[in-house]
Symmetry: C2
Subunit: 221 residues, 2 copies
């Protein structure tokens, strides 16, 4: 009997759809960023603030991945950006066919940048290509500076790492060595961009938004 | 061709080992708790503090699950408790055969309570029985009060929920409605015990430790 490697087969099927999504987005010159993090690192708050700060400069749409609820899509819609909610009904990551479906609903031609907010999970989503232009790892300083060493895959594969909730560092409310986290992540990924931010206070958001504006500019060239 | 449900087959194989672990632990009257949470919610810090506070009262051993590194087992060993590190090499959850192996290494007969610290992941570990007496969900208040609604499985299946890092609530460093999180979790699980704690300051640890002492007492009856 032939041995079937089921893991590889599922990935192959996913990658076929991911490739179609790449073609779809590249033909239209759209930047698409896949945000990955633990639950509660602040992805939705970062997105809402980014959309607001870039209003009039970059047109942003969002694909929201959650196991259940549409809490996150509702929060994005409050910024007036278009948002499509995908409920994975228990699955621990978004897959490329779900993104293909969402891209049919989003008004892609009117957008410059599409964010995918993946299911909160620092492990599984990093193994599934969605057709994105790049991955963005988000790490809250409340989670501890050992996370790049302990969960290396996503930090190795990302274009940028957002170190969120840096307002908690002042006053020593959490123990987090920014330089250690940065060094561990850059050991895995030499060209990783690192943006320390607080989506709550707005600190550091300007550098992140400038990087997005430049990335959009590179995409439409 | 017969359709094979691979997900079910993997779970069946896992459950066979989980059942063996239950027999092994029940025969020896050992309490075994499987701690599940997002990365960085404070599982290891909680365990280290719990071990220290219960020294002389409850003999605790730990099975540490991580994708990579033995940072966590080292932190546990500093408390002088025995700890076995399992590296899953990329896998997003511990599985029952790994626990069977670890139980052969731990000095089980000398212990009252075995903690399993699962891989940091609020989704996948909840689907894999390990042979534990019960699951403990850990949620840091830095992660947001919407997590029981967004990631229901683990809250529905747990004996207790630890709401950690409550020191961040004072001074309003994070927005987290304890009553909302509690209500959402109890909607999924009427008998869920809830312990608001700070493993950093020690607040609330006494109630949690009392509950553990009682649970050990019930197990050896």
């Amino acid at each position: 009997m032939e041995k079937i490697d089921v893991g590889k087969k599922i990935l192959r099927e996913n990658d076929k759809h991911a490739f179609e999504n790449i073609i779809f987005l590249t033909e239209r010159k759209k930047l698409c960023l896949n945000m990955i993090s633990s639950p509660g690192s602040g992805k939705t708050t970062i997105l809402a603030r980014t959309i607001t700060e870039l209003k009039g400069k970059v047109k942003i749409g969002v694909i929201e991945g959650d196991i259940q609820t549409d809490i996150d899509a509702e929060r994005i819609r409050e910024t007036e950006a278009p948002a499509v909610q995908i409920n994975t009904e228990g699955a621990c990551h978004l897959s490329a066919p779900q993104i293909s479906d969402a891209l049919k609903i989003l008004p892609v031609d009117e957008l410059d940048l599409i964010f995918i907010e993946n299911v909160g999970n620092l492990v599984c989503p990093s193994a599934f290509a969605l057709g994105e232009s790049g991955k963005i790892a988000v790490l809250s300083v409340a989670e501890g500076d050992d996370k790049p060493a302990k969960y290396p895959a996503i930090f190795a594969k990302s274009k940028a790492m957002l170190l969120n909730k840096i307002d908690l560092l002042e006053g020593g409310h959490v123990d987090f060595d920014v330089e250690r986290a940065k060094a561990d992540a850059r050991r895995l990924n030499k060209t990783l961009e690192v943006f320390p931010i607080s989506a709550r206070t707005g600190e550091g958001m300007a550098a992140w938004c400038d990087w997005l504006v430049n990335s959009v500019r590179e995409t439409v060239k």
